[in-house]
């Protein structure tokens, strides 16, 4: 039937075609899934991918959802290129929201211009502090950073829960587990009137540009690529692996913390027990779908943002469960990883063996 044959050289074309192919297969699988659920696939796909973008507000929402995905995805792609596997961006996002949010609550009476920059800065520092734990464990004890960063995610979420159920609960909030609303001066300004699109989107775009420059033009970016592709050559050149681990964790932790504080000081406006629908995890998909390239990550972030919006639209219009979003995201990553096999292998029909004997 079919046979996988190793290519003499990795295919450049497949590197870029593979995400599109994965997207196409995901859509096909989606059709099958909707059919099985008894929903017209045409209506479901329309609700999922077209309905959310029917208005200016919809496009603005796309930017709102894409902001954390792009911010984190771009930063994670640096680490993944260097072979530093930070899986705990969700926890760094949460701890960034806690630190920045804490400052916002503490300064809720202050009404000056420097409150917002301070809040954002503390958010980024909070994410870096949380990322410093797996970086320290990895460089000092050679602990597997995949496990430590992932497990710390749940710790961060529990810390947030503890705070909003306890000391930081809004005194006038009827005992709901929420903080008080942030003051005007600790809230991100809206950049498109009549929508929720906020300053964070511009920060995300700036991050894409900065990361591109980092990779293409700086020594640090060069070191990232060398250590990721040929660790022995990096050692020979005198690049320090430990410093690279620290850099990658600080960069991604800072970006994730910033994304966290942007979420709570932007669309949410207060601290709640749950502040992210898994942006930190989805950003991993975003990074790989975007081929670990800043521009690719930008497009992948928009696509995955659409899957969040589409999930909500499908819930409202067709009464489909929210889990559809997760299923779509999971299928996309699954098919992408499968399609990536075609970068190194090609498919050829297996010649029928000894047809005379058959």
């Amino acid at each position: 039937m079919l046979q996988l044959v190793k290519r003499p050289q990795p295919s450049k074309a497949m590197t870029y075609l593979s995400p599109l192919l994965a997207l196409a297969i995901t859509l096909c699988a989606g059709v099958v899934m909707f059919q099985a659920m008894g929903v017209s696939p045409g209506r479901a796909l329309h609700a999922f991918f077209a309905a959310p973008l029917a208005s200016k507000y919809g496009w603005a929402e796309l930017g709102v959802k894409a902001t954390p995905l792009v911010l984190i995805g771009v930063a994670l792609s640096i680490g993944f290129r260097a072979g530093v596997w930070n899986i705990g961006a969700e926890g760094q996002l949460t701890f960034g929201a806690i630190c920045g949010g804490g400052i916002a609550l503490w300064l809720h009476r202050a009404e000056t211009g420097w409150v917002l920059p301070l809040v954002l800065l503390c958010g980024a520092l909070g994410g870096m502090a949380w990322a410093a734990i797996p970086a320290f464990l990895r460089t000092k004890f050679n602990t597997n950073e995949i496990l430590t960063s992932l497990m710390l995610t749940y710790v961060a979420i529990l810390v947030l829960s503890l705070l909003v159920h306890g000391p930081w609960r809004d005194p006038g909030g009827y005992n709901f587990p929420e903080s008080r609303d942030f003051s005007e001066s600790a809230t991100l300004p809206i950049i498109l009137a009549g929508t929720r699109l906020h300053l964070g989107w511009l920060l995300a775009l700036a991050m894409v540009g900065a990361t591109w420059a980092l990779l293409a033009r700086t020594l640090v970016g060069f070191q990232v690529k060398v250590i990721g592709q040929a660790p022995a050559a990096g050692r020979h050149a005198g690049f320090s692996l430990n410093r690279m681990v620290w850099f990658c964790f600080m960069f991604a932790g800072g970006a994730a913390g910033l994304a966290g504080i942007i979420e709570v000081s932007g669309p949410i406006g207060q601290l709640q027990p749950s502040i992210s629908p898994g942006y930190g995890f989805t950003a991993i998909i975003v990074a790989f779908l975007g081929r670990l390239h800043p521009l690719g990550v930008l497009f992948a972030g928009l696509l995955l943002a659409l899957s969040y919006l589409g999930g909500e639209a499908a819930q409202i219009l067709l009464g489909l469960p929210l889990a559809v979003t997760g299923v779509f995201q999971g299928m996309l990553l699954f098919f992408l990883l499968a399609c990536d096999v075609l970068i190194h292998y090609r498919i050829r029909p297996r010649r029928r063996m000894s047809s005379a004997a058959a």
């Binding site: 022995a232 050559a233 020979h236 005198g238």
Partner: protein, 494 residues
């Protein structure tokens, strides 16, 4: 038998005969054609011409299955075992489906007891050491009750203790009538294990000898080739400068169980001098290069001095700042990043010395000019500085890497296998460039397995064996036989 690959005759009318109960050595350097020959014997490759006779009758060994049916078994250098399966499951995979597992397990334990191959059939392969994995492969072969066992460089991955155990097993098997074809380039092993040896050089048989009548030195000479090339590149010894590199009582513990510990290394190299370090592969050459270039660091800083500055605990950057350049033996992945352009690879070791980074940003224009200079001066054939390193032929990439270091005009160069796998023209270019650099006052250490190269290029020569370096002596004062003895571990050149 003859086997030709595009551009190279791997085996040229090679003949070999093996008797039952004999451990026969197939001896030769890397690239001498040993692997090609045994792959033909095992049916993996087909000979262009020639014939094989098995127990007196002509045999057409089309594929490995046919070889196994005849009674030929082979243990490859790289094992084919599934990590997540147990020893028993791995062995059962190669058996007919209706094999009784309990009986198979009993057989495995019988063989394991009988031949001193301790092994637990229920352990998962991923928990086994490399030596234990090799035992699984040997037992898998023995279960077929073979008449000929081929072992391809079996000790290259073993610790000394495991090597001793393996030798006991092989001797016992031979006493019971099994023929063993033992492939190696390690002379001491062959002296310890084999009675006869067939020596390959450059794809041809250069001798079929009785091991007992040969010395390690004469075996080495046959393997490497006695006749020296005329092109002498040695210096005249008049323009010696001050001592640039001094290594004194350098000890380095082994980083893991498969690397070699360096013991009491002493050497010094003056400006204008090329010091050659000979040795059979795997005797500490990689470790010595790592220790000299700063990838590995010694416990005491004063063990290595560059121009008088102690630097044995310094990393590669600090040593480069003192004037060192180094070229590792492995081109792809160590000396260069395979999937990166020549521009980026040019940057790899030069950015500090030549100032290609300003406030963290790479100055591409300056770097581009530097790479263009390398390509021109060393006549590197490449599609410009955007070509990725992996797309260059071995010789061109080596010229590029050597050029990258030489164009930085270092005061001291340490280079490993400068012409390994490089065509003759490129090899000569590289050797001439090294000599020219020494004539300009640089000190050079060349670590090489190519004795011809060292005899023609180096002013002084020493040999490394099991992590210990012999006292360097003037190349004029020694013969190939003496160097061969030193490579085999004799302590004194006289």
């Amino acid at each position: 038998m003859t086997k030709t690959f595009p551009g190279v005759v791997a085996n040229r009318e090679v003949g070999l005969s093996l008797r039952a109960g004999e451990i026969h050595a197939l001896l030769g350097e890397n690239g001498a054609g040993k692997s090609t020959l045994v792959k033909m014997i095992y049916g993996v490759l087909k000979a262009d011409s020639g014939e094989m006779r098995w127990m007196g009758a002509p045999a057409d060994i089309r594929d490995p299955a046919r070889a196994r049916a005849l009674g030929i078994a082979m243990v490859f250098q790289h094992f084919s075992l599934f990590d997540s399966l147990s020893v028993l499951e791995n062995i059962a995979l190669g058996m007919p489906a209706d094999t009784d597992r309990d009986r198979l397990k009993t057989r495995i334990h019988e063989l394991s007891d009988r031949y001193g191959l301790p092994l637990d059939a229920d352990r998962h392969v991923y928990t086994l050491s490399v030596g234990e994995r090799q035992r699984v492969e040997i037992i898998r072969c023995l279960l077929q009750e073979p008449k000929l066992l081929v072992m391809d460089e079996p000790t290259s991955v073993l610790t000394p203790q495991e090597v001793a155990g393996l030798f006991e097993t092989l001797k016992q098997l031979a006493e019971e009538g099994l023929a063993v074809l033992y492939i190696s380039h390690k002379l001491d092993e062959i002296k310890a294990l084999c009675k006869r040896a067939t020596i390959l050089r450059g794809g041809s048989v250069v001798g079929s000898v009785s091991v007992a009548r040969e010395s390690a030195a004469s075996l080495a000479a046959k393997m490497i080739g006695e006749e020296l090339k005329e092109a002498r590149l040695r210096g005249d010894g008049k323009k010696r400068g001050p001592v640039r590199l001094e290594v004194a009582r350098l000890d380095m513990p082994a980083a893991d169980e498969f690397s070699i510990a360096l013991r009491d290394i002493r050497l010094s190299v003056r400006g204008g001098e090329i010091l050659g370090i000979a040795g059979v592969a795997g005797n500490g050459q990689d470790e010595l290069l790592a220790a000299l270039c700063g990838e590995a660091r010694a416990a005491r800083n004063n063990r290595i001095r560059i121009d008088g500055h102690p630097c044995a605990r310094a990393g590669p950057n600090r040593r480069r700042a003192l004037g060192l350049a180094s070229i590792p033996g492995e081109r792809l992945g160590h000396g260069a990043v395979p999937e990166m352009s020549l521009l980026e690879n040019g940057l790899l070791t030069s950015y500090r010395r030549l100032g290609f980074v300003k406030r963290g940003f790479i100055r591409r224009r300056e770097c581009r000019a530097f790479v263009a200079r390398i390509l021109k001066r060393f006549r590197v054939k490449a599609a410009g500085d955007g070509a990725v390193a992996a797309s260059l032929s071995g010789g061109n990439l080596q010229k590029f890497i050597v050029g990258r270091e030489i164009c930085q005009s270092p005061a001291l160069l340490v280079v490993s296998q400068p012409t390994w796998g490089v065509d003759a023209g490129a090899a000569q270019t590289i050797r001439l460039a090294l000599r020219k650099m020494a004539d300009k006052g640089a000190a050079i250490v060349v670590i090489s397995q190519d004795l011809d190269e060292l005899m023609s290029l180096s002013d002084n020569i020493a040999a490394i064996c099991a992590g210990a370096l012999s006292q360097p002596v003037p190349t004029d004062s020694v013969t190939v036989e003496r160097i061969g003895l030193l490579m085999a571990g004799a302590r004194d050149a006289n």
